[in-house]
Subunit: 284 residues, 4 copies
């Protein structure tokens, strides 16, 4: 049986929680989860409420209209999702396949129940066999500095043809243009192989090795125009030592990257992530 999920951001004031829960209850909704957060500094309020559609007296198509007066009263930004409508996902990848490989195994094992992987796009051919073995369409789009915009037009056309609404950069080593990014606000998730904001940009493991750090990290974040500056969804770190050569850092780091990227995607799919300013609320 599907659930509805409502994500709300608005200025904090008395009565929001009560009003929203009351809205759901009066229409026969059994509230399965409700979480909220008030950010004391900015005065912003965030809420996530999930209820069973079984017994809910308002048809899906009408919920938004009925909710509108409440939303206006509290000046809410809000989004409404249903758990039986899968997120259509595309995965971009270059030559390193560990994150892709991991995601495909989880997908096959049922760990990404709210997603449908529509497409794998790469500027190389390394992922092609894996895509075919997994029965997922593969699109090879070579990218050169001078052809990047044209390549992105091809990519965007393919995404739109498939109705994709989540782009995952699973170690895709091309910087997207602002024009591309603006098509998917808070809907492109990247894995950066460092503990951001340390080691922005290329070769973070080489930077980490050079610096002699004792922990390495990985960061998944939404992509915005400023490189490696988007809202952080998840991070994790692992202990290393002077014995680790760069290739050991890379290998150790890959284990982090896989898990950190997966968690970010899962929380996004479960509609547990809200962005505000350059930060996220994650109702895990």
């Amino acid at each position: 049986m599907p659930h509805a999920i409502l994500l709300i951001s608005c200025p904090d004031q008395k009565g929001i929680t009560a009003a929203v829960t009351d809205f759901v209850f009066k229409r026969g909704g059994n509230i399965l989860d409700a979480a909220q957060h008030a950010d004391a500094e900015s005065g912003a309020f965030f809420m996530r409420i999930e209820w069973a559609m079984a017994g809910f007296t308002v048809p899906r198509a009408t919920i938004s209209r009925e909710f509108q007066p409440l939303a206006e009263k509290f000046k809410m930004s809000w989004e409404l999702y249903f758990t039986d409508v899968p997120v259509k996902m595309a995965i971009f990848v270059s030559k390193q396949l560990h994150c892709l490989y991991d995601l495909l195994f989880r997908y096959r094992s049922g760990q990404l129940p709210h997603a449908k992987i529509e497409l794998i796009i790469s500027n190389h051919h390394d992922a092609e066999d894996l895509a075919h073995q997994s029965g997922i369409d593969f699109l090879h789009v070579p990218v050169l500095a001078e052809t990047k915009r044209a390549a992105e037009e091809i990519q965007l056309a393919a995404l739109q043809a498939k109705g994709v609404n989540l782009v995952v950069l699973a170690r895709y080593h091309q910087i997207l243009t602002d024009q591309f990014i603006q098509q998917y606000p808070n809907a492109i998730i990247n894995i950066h192989h460092s503990f951001l904001p340390a080691f922005v940009g290329g070769s973070p493991y080489a930077q980490a090795h050079q610096k002699g750090v004792k922990l390495i990290g990985a960061t998944s974040h939404y992509v915005i125009e400023a490189l490696d500056q988007g809202p952080i969804i998840e991070q994790d770190a692992a202990r290393i030592s002077h014995r680790y050569a760069i290739h050991d850092l890379i290998e150790e780091g890959q284990d982090l990257e896989r898990v950190v990227l997966y968690r970010a995607i899962r929380w996004h799919l479960e509609r547990k992530v809200l962005c505000y300013g350059n930060k996220t609320v994650v109702f895990e």
Copy 2:
């Protein structure tokens, strides 16, 4: 300005969240936090709701009476707390002082704002100076197997005289009798120096060393009659290696114990812990 905190356990059914938030809102309460959990297996529902008393139209003394009909309707067990009523705490300790020392520093630093440490009780004299330096009453109660009940009567009398409602066993190396424990249901917090349920009972570090484990742990839990079996509030673990002799395990473990015990106490003081069966819900 004080807050009110309501902790609720009841059978899960439609409408609880809405009813409770509505109860608070209708009486002018600004909801600061609300969290809930439905345990699918047992069908139990748990809720914690915190609201500002400023502007709340019902005086403290009357809230319980007004809430009673709602509680009965949903068959709730419930507790109501106010953040300006400190928890009166006693700390029991034997010869190892690291947890006590840590708690006293946090207390002095303002990290335990909801507690008032009334008393330190020990079967040894090692903690006496520390208690006096901290300006806290110290009670020395020697315990022998044959005098344990008498000793506990002295301890209980002292606790009652001070109105203590939380007992912390900060490495107190005496097993409490059932009679003692029954005076403080879900109000005695122990730190056990292993990753329970591994290494129950005495000398867990020696057991861990003998077993050759690669991680050691610490566990804070409420004390029940069955030794080391009470509801677990918090656990953590740390990596060790073959190079660690037993005294290294002990030293490494003490760093865990301090943090794990502190977290359990803090969450208890913040009224974030609910027990059900032999488990806890922790709304951290």
Copy 3:
């Protein structure tokens, strides 16, 4: 260029390190790594020394004979390995494929350079496609309680035909008989999906859920006759909460299992693990 690795266990006494390093140096060996550990309790001494064979003046076949007098003098147990002789590995698996899948990806990516995976053996057919895609022989050996010994004879014959010297139980849900285990002393690595010694035996995640622990763990160990009691090679733990249903524990635990099993295998392949009594020295 290959390296030689010498693993030594003996009673501790003065002069072992000097004698061994001198032995290597006098014969032109460039020592790349030397690590040692003296266990104060048992009085045992352990050493691992790795040197480049380039320039070493003694041919491989003769090293053992030349080393023998030194070994006898210090009453050493010792093993000699060469890094260009791969370990022949077989993987046993039942229906859950996450560990197998992970190992095969690492194998393909070059993360197991000292291994050659000869064979995948299963009592089910789930892993068959994956084996074939990876170009690795697959042997289906159904196991019933009354046919276990006969099944093991088939398994052992296949292992011997391939010259297998490391058996990995990557979530193989059959208990091996003592007769099987005795064929591979300290050469069968199992992944147990709990933080041993907690939750021995079947359904450890269900046991953990029932107990209400706040961390789950995974343990890789050598298999001995006593179930889940063999020397522990590696363990790790992850934080969970009351929100985790059993299937969430399982999913979270699988991420641990993959990494913990991989580390144990890698260290074994790198000849970094020495067993003594029921414990291990891991020169990571």
Copy 4:
């Protein structure tokens, strides 16, 4: 019985380990621990060897002279220590006392057996009582921008009078001048309250909060002239969430700082840290 510890850095070449172990053995030294590391990139070799002085045939005063030819042959930088010669330590602190408090407890508990804390120096009076309770000299040296050099002269005079050879900055909120730092090369250990190189400089928790990171860290490092750029000895990280206000970050971070600073000091005292370029080898 005292041990000798020899720390060696030199260009890597064949025969170093054998020559050094042979040097010790020939003179009757029982080698208790030997560890080495060859840095493939720089071609540098590092070694730490520890042996029992009981039975060693060369008197302390003569060891250096006897070792000199070997050192010259291999172009070694080297240092020789004896475990019964305590490191004379001074602790600098400002107003936040958590690290100081922690170190003093460990000191009293015997966790810093190789140190003698000679002096606590502060630009404030907050630590004064604690110093006196611990029986340690306290020196108040106010620091203003325009008087910093004069203040440092007072500090240096006090350090020299006490023969201090390790300075610990346990949350000392003054930037030392180059002149001061040059008096204590690789002998000033600082705790920085972030995961360096992220959040260099002041208010790292505010920076972390602003950035919306999901982990916070702490870093202990040797102090060099470039602010927060010295060789990192130890780091650790802890998970946070959007629920953490800045003061929660600070509180959580303090638990990290205490442990990270302690580990760095302990390893320094045990002579397990070697610096090369801007990095460390830690033979933990």
